[in-house]
């Protein structure tokens, strides 16, 4: 099936759902899409997810110890989404994400030391400590934040893709956001622009069921999220966001279509955060039983079950060592001198990675 045909097929599926024919759009994998991911390195995927998990568990401890401050939004439980998608994103492709961004930064290849130093507000941090947990930017891997305005990153992704198109580059831009963002005007404006101009963007909705403390069905009239993207003529489908292989496969197919000139694609990953919204959140709006039910589908446990003859304990101790090294790196870091407070409000010659050519 060609990319064009596949686009029609998946659109048709979503439209069918709109007519009540199906509950949720269909992953074109089910209809045998041509673009299959190469066989995955499951051990590498496991390691990436574990790095995110252990990094954040350590961050939670450090938060309680008051060594990390501000808002910290943990991704624990959702690791399969960033890991599966970013496994398929090429090094020169742009990534835009939200304030729940540790997982994306680590899966994208931002050094853990620099992320941990950023959490500590150290000048050795990935953004010199200026951004903190919610604003991880990394020019070498084209990570454009770390946006703490819900929905704020979507128009940026549209523009990054527009620049690629106008400059004759064939590559995708990947934009992560939560289902809460789909109630924002920015979501709808971005869908319309991307579809109207057929821009190469993969929109990845991380549907963890809650916009802060408000459940999806309490905040949006249409809870079948793929339909919202389909309404703009964007092929949209849903995948199991707890299964990293499923996410990876769906992302591979979507990205192939995007790169092939198929216009924007929308992927909903159904996932769940095991921890509270932020470190301030007492998590009174969810049933304990619901959380426990989702934990049965812990993405790390799911994948571990498929890893035969892999020494998981060895990976665990490698990752534990990396996390402790990152903490030591952050501890040994420096506070930026107050005399530099007003730097980077406007550009300085040469220092900006995105400076004019």
């Amino acid at each position: 099936m060609s990319a064009r045909q596949s686009r029609r097929a998946s659109s048709g599926a979503a439209n069918g759902a709109a007519n009540g024919a199906a509950n949720g759009a269909v992953d074109p994998a089910a209809s045998g899409a041509a673009h299959e991911a190469s066989s995955p390195d499951l051990t590498a995927l496991y390691r990436t997810m574990l790095r995110i998990r252990r990094f954040e568990e350590r961050c939670a401890e450090l938060y309680s110890a008051e060594r990390i401050r501000g808002f910290v939004h943990l991704y624990i439980g959702e690791e399969a989404v960033a890991t599966g998608v970013l496994d398929q994103v090429l090094p020169d492709e742009a990534v835009v994400t939200t304030y729940r961004d540790h997982g994306h930064a680590l899966a994208r290849g931002v050094p853990m030391n620099e992320v941990m130093a950023e959490m500590h507000g150290r000048v050795e941090g990935v953004c010199r400590g200026r951004g903190g947990s919610m604003h991880l930017f990394h020019a070498p891997t084209r990570l454009y934040g770390g946006n703490a305005i819900v929905g704020g990153g979507l128009p940026l992704a549209v523009g990054l893709a527009l620049a690629d198109r106008m400059l004759g580059r064939t590559r995708a831009t990947v934009c992560f956001f939560g289902e809460g963002a789909m109630a924002e005007g920015a979501f709808h404006e971005s869908m319309n622009l991307a579809a109207l101009w057929r821009l190469p963007v993969l929109f990845v909705c991380e549907n963890n069921g809650y916009a802060m403390g408000t459940a999806l069905e309490r905040s949006q009239s249409e809870t079948n999220l793929a339909l919202k993207a389909a309404a703009y003529g964007i092929p949209a489908w849903t995948c199991d966001g707890m299964d990293v292989e499923a996410v990876r496969g769906a992302a591979a197919r979507a990205l192939a279509l995007v790169r092939d000139g198929g216009g924007p694609m929308f992927l909903e990953a159904r996932t769940y955060r095991f921890r509270a919204h932020s470190m301030y959140d007492s998590d009174r709006y969810r049933d304990r039983a619901e959380i426990d039910r989702w934990k049965l589908r812990d993405p790390l446990v799911l994948l571990a079950g498929r890893l035969d003859d892999v020494d998981l304990e060895a990976i665990d101790s490698e990752v534990a060592r990396e996390v402790e090294e990152a903490v030591a790196f952050a501890d040994a870091g420096h506070d930026e001198p107050v005399s530099e407070l007003t730097r980077y409000v406007t550009s300085e010659p040469i220092t900006s990675a995105g400076a004019p050519r």
């Binding site: 742009a94 941090g125 990935v126 953004c127 010199r128 400590g129 200026r130 951004g131 604003h135 930017f137 990394h138 020019a139 454009y144 934040g145 770390g146 946006n147 305005i149 704020g152 979507l154 128009p155 940026l156 992704a157 549209v158 523009g159 990054l160 893709a161 527009l162 620049a163 690629d164 106008m166 400059l167 005007g185 920015a186 404006e189 971005s190 319309n192 622009l193 109207l196 730097r343 980077y344 409000v345 406007t346 550009s347 300085e348 220092t351 900006s352 990675a353 995105g354 400076a355 004019p356 050519r357």
Partner: protein, 344 residues
């Protein structure tokens, strides 16, 4: 060379153009010089721009570079930011400042902030143009003067071309700035004509300008109020009061040194702004004069600003709400009452 020949030569070098044409020429020139430059906004293409600024550009540059957008200010301003991050040099036209509020999140939370938040990694070389101001009986929602909102924001450069030369020349300099620049074009200026040398080109954007030299009082203003101040200065001159008129040109950063230098000579300052006085740009300028020129002043700093109401539709009420040459002249006279200039 006869006097007639000289006049002809000057006329040839200084064709008279409208402010609208000057802005258009600035855009056209930038687009010819740099392939990365493109214009994006509501009705900039087939319609020719809400104020007719981009008329004819679609035919010259095509739909990719003269890009019509949906009515989607947050979306296309954000897309402009993204395109700037991705290597383009977008000019985003927001039809008027009133609608820019729909994009304020993108302008403040992204354009003005990404460089700092990313520790210097990502600058945003974006130019946003928009019409501002009232005076045309368009009622409250189409008559705002919100330059002060934007001038409040670190990370933005804010410009207010008040002359044909600045309308022509500020754009290229703004495009060369690696950071976001917001350009305010007062809606009443588009039909204003002025002489513009045929070879006119980019102008500096860092300094305020003395539009009319004087010695008794300094009128500090920008944008659409410049003409009113010049008119007021003309009326005052007939009474022997010589007002110096300063066109701020750049509202952020403010070239307050030029203002201080003038006030040190005239010893009196009147700040004129079409926006509301409370927490407005006039408050900032007046405060700086108070901080830096206190011992030079022979009178308290005066202000002429909009009456604090949403701009009403009826002509007489709108005129009463906004600064006028008469109000400016009257305020200047009050500052000078009892002085030698006033007695002259």
């Amino acid at each position: 060379m006869s006097r007639q020949q000289t006049r002809a030569r000057v006329a040839a070098e200084q064709p008279v153009v409208t402010y609208r044409e000057a802005v258009r020429e600035g855009i056209r020139d930038a687009m010819r010089r740099d392939d990365r430059v493109f214009l994006m906004g509501e009705d900039v293409g087939r319609y020719g721009g809400g104020f007719g600024v981009s008329m004819g550009l679609l035919e010259e540059f095509g739909e990719e570079r003269i890009r019509d957008t949906p009515l989607s200010e947050g979306g296309f301003v954000g897309a402009g930011i993204g395109a700037a991050l991705g290597g383009m040099r977008p000019i985003v036209e927001i039809m008027t400042v009133n609608f820019s509020l729909l994009a304020l999140d993108q302008i403040l939370n992204s354009a003005a902030t990404l460089l700092h938040m990313s520790g210097g990694q990502f600058n945003v070389p974006l130019v946003i143009r928009m019409a501002t101001g009232g005076g045309r009986q368009l009622a409250a929602q189409h008559s705002r003067s919100l330059e002060g909102f934007y001038a409040h924001i670190p990370g933005l450069r804010v410009l207010a071309p008040a002359t044909v030369a600045d309308a022509r020349g500020m754009l290229w300099t703004a495009l060369e700035d690696p950071d976001p620049v917001v350009i305010f074009e007062h809606g009443s200026l588009y039909n204003m004509s002025g002489g513009l040398p045929a070879d006119s080109w980019a102008v500096g954007i860092d300094r305020a300008m003395v539009s009319r030299p004087g010695e008794h009082v300094t009128l500090v203003t920008h944008g659409g109020s410049l003409r009113l101040c010049l008119e007021a200065a003309e009326a005052l001159a007939a009474e022997g009061i010589l007002a110096e008129v300063i066109d701020l040109r750049s509202l952020r950063p403010l070239d307050d040194a030029t203002v201080f230098e003038s006030v040190a000579r005239t010893h009196r300052a009147l700040v004129v702004d079409e926006a509301w006085r409370t927490c407005g740009l006039s408050a900032e300028v007046a405060a700086r004069i108070g901080e830096e020129c206190f011992y030079d002043l022979d009178a308290p700093v005066g202000r002429v600003a909009a009456v604090e109401v949403p701009v009403p539709y009826p002509r007489h009420l709108e005129q009463a709400a906004l600064p006028s040459a008469e109000r400016i002249a009257a305020a200047a006279r009050r500052l000078l009452s009892g002085s030698e200039a006033a007695r002259a």
